[in-house]
């Protein structure tokens, strides 16, 4: 079973077209295992990406190096999934 321990979801805000281009290049780096929930399209739209734990350091360094703003929207995806699972099990018991 795949788990998402340590995976974070980042909300990235691109400030210009050059940053959008950089983020598109980032999205093509298959080895990072990124899952774009909202893809880099244009500046006015947020970009949401789930980042596996193993890629967090690289991705956050990339964003910082290129002065691309982001915030951590979900600190640990697995924690949320576990909570969801608990609620479902509770429902089954009821």
């Amino acid at each position: 079973k795949e788990t998402f321990e340590g995976h974070q979801v980042l909300r990235i805000t691109a400030n210009n077209e050059a940053q959008i281009t950089l983020l598109k290049e980032l999205s093509e780096q298959g080895h990072l295992g990124l899952d774009f929930w909202m893809e880099p399209i244009r500046e006015s739209l947020p970009i949401d990406v789930r980042v596996p734990f193993n890629s967090l350091q690289a991705v956050r360094a990339f964003l910082a190096y290129n002065h691309i703003e982001y915030l951590v929207m979900i600190e640990d995806v697995q924690n949320l999934l576990d909570e969801e699972q608990r609620q479902m099990l509770k429902s089954h018991v009821i």
Binding site: F4, F36, M38, I41, M88
Partner: protein, 308 residues
């Protein structure tokens, strides 16, 4: 749950529980609801559609939820909509009037293989589960697989991409089943395909910047629908054509339905705006469904009042 009153609408449920819910609903309201199996998924699961009907030979209104399997609030809302329809028929004059003139078709689990996979293997799975010959990556994005600008920008030719369009239009049985159903029915008047998240109501097109010929009416109806939606919990929504509001996406569902002549073609993106995304807590299911229902009613009423 032994009946649909006992069903817990405030929680997410697995595939079999939702299949059972559909059967219970049909058994409890056999005069109003029937179940149609429009096809089979790649892994052989039934593609069930609930038909709400009070008479023969009626035009139809279509709703589908959860073609992207990880968008759980969507399927959960679909369950709530089904119960809402049977509860309100005969009580709510607007819905009663709709159902006295139109059939409503509701496909709650549009991508059952994907949904099962999100329940058991990978919560973040989005696509179908059909293997791709020559690739270790599985599945096709069923919202890029329609014959509407198929293969264009905003879809991927790579089987490993989340937006892989598939080898050909309608290659996915989950998509082909709807295509065949819509064509064989021949009188579907509105078509709403429901996704999450990002709080948007969108109309064609996604594959081209050419405005839909009914854009003015679609835009005004979207405004009205969103006004209704926001009246409940003041949830902020945006609306517009797919390509101008979110991004270019080729091979999408409602571009195909619109090009088939279904004027009132919309796609929803339900809650939230990203704080939880696909992992929206279960306590938001019912509020999401409640507010969305108001918008769906606005679209269905407008469809009824503006025959074409």
């Amino acid at each position: 749950p032994r009946n649909t009153d006992d069903f817990v609408y405030t929680n997410y449920h697995n595939l079999n529980t939702i299949y059972s819910f559909m059967d219970m609903l049909v058994a409890e309201h056999s005069d109003l609801v029937s179940k149609i199996v429009i096809g089979q998924s790649y892994e052989g699961r039934p593609l069930n559609v609930l038909r709400f009907s009070t008479g023969a030979n009626r035009p139809g209104m279509w709703l589908d939820t959860g073609i992207h399997s990880r968008e759980w609030v969507t399927q959960a809302s679909g369950v709530w909509f089904a119960k809402k329809i049977v509860t309100d028929y005969g009580r709510d004059p607007a819905l009663t009037d709709i159902l006295n003139n139109y059939d409503i078709y509701l496909e709650i689990i549009t991508n059952p293989d994907g949904y099962q996979y999100t329940q058991t293997k990978d919560r973040m799975w989005r696509k179908t589960r059909k293997p791709n010959p020559g690739s270790s990556c599985v599945g096709v994005d069923p919202n890029r697989n329609w014959d509407a600008g198929f293969g264009g920008a905003g879809s991927s030719s790579s089987p490993c991409s989340e937006t892989y369009r598939g080898p050909s239009a309608h290659s996915e049985p989950e998509v082909k089943a709807i295509v065949d159903f819509v064509k064989s029915h021949g009188n579907i008047k509105s078509f709403v395909s429901i996704h999450s998240y990002s709080q948007m109501l969108l109309y064609p097109y996604g594959y081209t910047r050419t405005p839909a010929k009914d854009q003015a009416e679609l835009h005004e109806l979207a405004r009205k629908a969103i006004t209704e939606l926001q009246s409940l919990y003041n949830t902020r929504y945006t609306y517009g054509s797919i390509i101008t509001t979110i991004y270019q996406a080729s091979g999408g569902t409602i571009d195909w339905t619109y090009d088939q002549g279904i004027k009132y073609s919309y796609t929803f993106e339900l809650r939230d705006t990203g704080r939880y995304g696909f992992i929206l807590p279960a306590n938001q299911i019912v509020p999401t469904a409640e507010e969305t229902w108001l918008a769906l009613m606005a679209i269905m009423e407008h469809t009824k009042n503006n025959p074409y």
